[in-house]
Amino acid sequence: MIGFIQSIPLDLLLIQTVNGVVTGMILALVASGLTLIFGIMDVVNFAHGELFMLGAYVGVVIFALTGNFWLALVVSALMVAIFGAAMQILTLRPLIGRDPLNTILVTFGLSLILQNYALWQFGPVARKISEPITTHFNLFYLEYPWYRLVIAGLSAAIIGVFWLFLKHSKFGVWIRATTQDRVMAQAMGIPVPWVYTGVFAIGAAMAAASGVLFAPMAGVTHTMGLDWVLKAFIVVVVGGMGSLGGSIAAAIFISLLEAYAAIWVSPAQAVIVSFIVLILTLLFRPTGLFAPTPR
């Protein structure tokens, strides 16, 4: 036992902690959009990963045009937000009041369309965005890129701004009121269908922003959304469906576990760790690990 503990290289453990937190923050950004959309409109957005992918591709295009990464980030988030709003109005609005399962089917169809559109438009070869910040710092024997830490900080900042927006702005109050009681909110004069559209657009923008932020770390491909949407689903269930804080905690928790597991097994197999966390959560605490206990 002691031998096993001593055999864990401490430096590797620390490096993986940093890696885990960085991916955890991006995942939190993706998952908080997903959980928001679920919490407020009972829509399980299967196409969320595709919005992430689409955001990354729009980022690639804008970056190729202007060469400015930060401009690409902002424009991509805005464009995908408008696209998300249109998508919601066209496909999800007619389904309000129907079985929520219909929304899974529709968003699954949307994800098929978007994925194949990306493949058709951009081809199967991965696109790359170069990192906007190329400096490194020393982390043990590694030259660790500053950019990754900037991503983590930026994701946290976006989530923070979003939280303030929910807490203090008028639209945020509308969103929270609709989450609590849809009918009552409508009776109070809140335009609930437009709150839905707005929430979907915000969720889409957050997914797109995380897509652009992630793009320099790995290539942009038409299938990149699938991995992320699966991970985000796990995070949302483990964190407690519809709980924003729970999702953020779960995103970091699961990313850390996967990063540590990747010390011993290949990253493809490390995914199993998060699957196991999900199963255990469903068995012992089906309302979510990080959500408050329901009364």
């Binding site: 496909t91 399962l101 899974i104 169809g109 098929l112 559109y117 493949l119 058709w120 269930v237 469903l282």
Partner: protein, 318 residues
Amino acid sequence: MTRHDKIYWAGFCVILALLIIAPLVLPEFWRRFLTEVLIWGLLAMSSDLLIGYTGMVSFGHSAFFGLGMYGAAAALLTLSPPNLWLALGLGLAWAAGAALFVAYFSTRLRDIYFAITTLIFSQIFYVIIFTWTPVTGGENGLIFSRPHLSIPFLYDARFSSSTLHWFVLAMVTASYLILRRVTQSPFGMVLQSIRENEARTRAIGYPVERYKIVAVMLSGIFAGLAGVLYAIQNEFAAPDFVYFITSGDTVIFNVMGGIGTLVGPIVGAGFFQLLRELMSRLFGDQFPYLIPLGVIFIVMIIFLPQGLLGFARRWLNR
């Protein structure tokens, strides 16, 4: 026999007869196409037991399909000469095992939670199959040769594309009759009452969880059968089929054809594959056929949620 029964069985016999004659008149390509539609139809039909009759949307049928496939592959690769019935047996056993495992955990949850859980479980099987290269062949999958069609002491010959079609047809027809019987049995009635009102079913005193577990297993076994048939037809097993896109296709076939009808999913599979074939003929192989098919699918959910055969749903189940 009531009048309804007469019409129903007459229709059944006519369609079956047409499907039996089909390989004799169709050219090779369409013969293969029809066999494949039957196999996808069987997969979709198996999940209809959950979606249409129990009210549980499974997004994990690729796991059962894939384990049937790899079970058959294992039997065909380890045994020589390869035996058809052992492949069938092993494939079904593996699919049933996987179904039991998935059912035990996922039936504690309802609605979308059930859908997500089955999806995640199918991904577990995918990751295992994809990364366990020495045993499963990893990314490349397994290639094997088709066993003989053998009935002990009676018949033993190579599959031709016609006998393969009839073999698949026999399996699918038998599965349909069994599933139809199941849905009309007292067991099936309980499943439908779970769909209509789970709390009330529980209150009457039915052990809902146990019924759901059996339903998932039953559904998984038939999905495994589809996997075995697909493996035998195509002589390979690949991890792509275990990926959740296959499960999504299964759900699409169901919704397009009409859930809760059992034959609807087969029609849906045929409709989907036919449109796909048509588009690749009209616009070339590179055409992203899934874009228009996705649009058709979404439009159907919004405007025709009952599916193509939805209008006949009550009549088919009587």
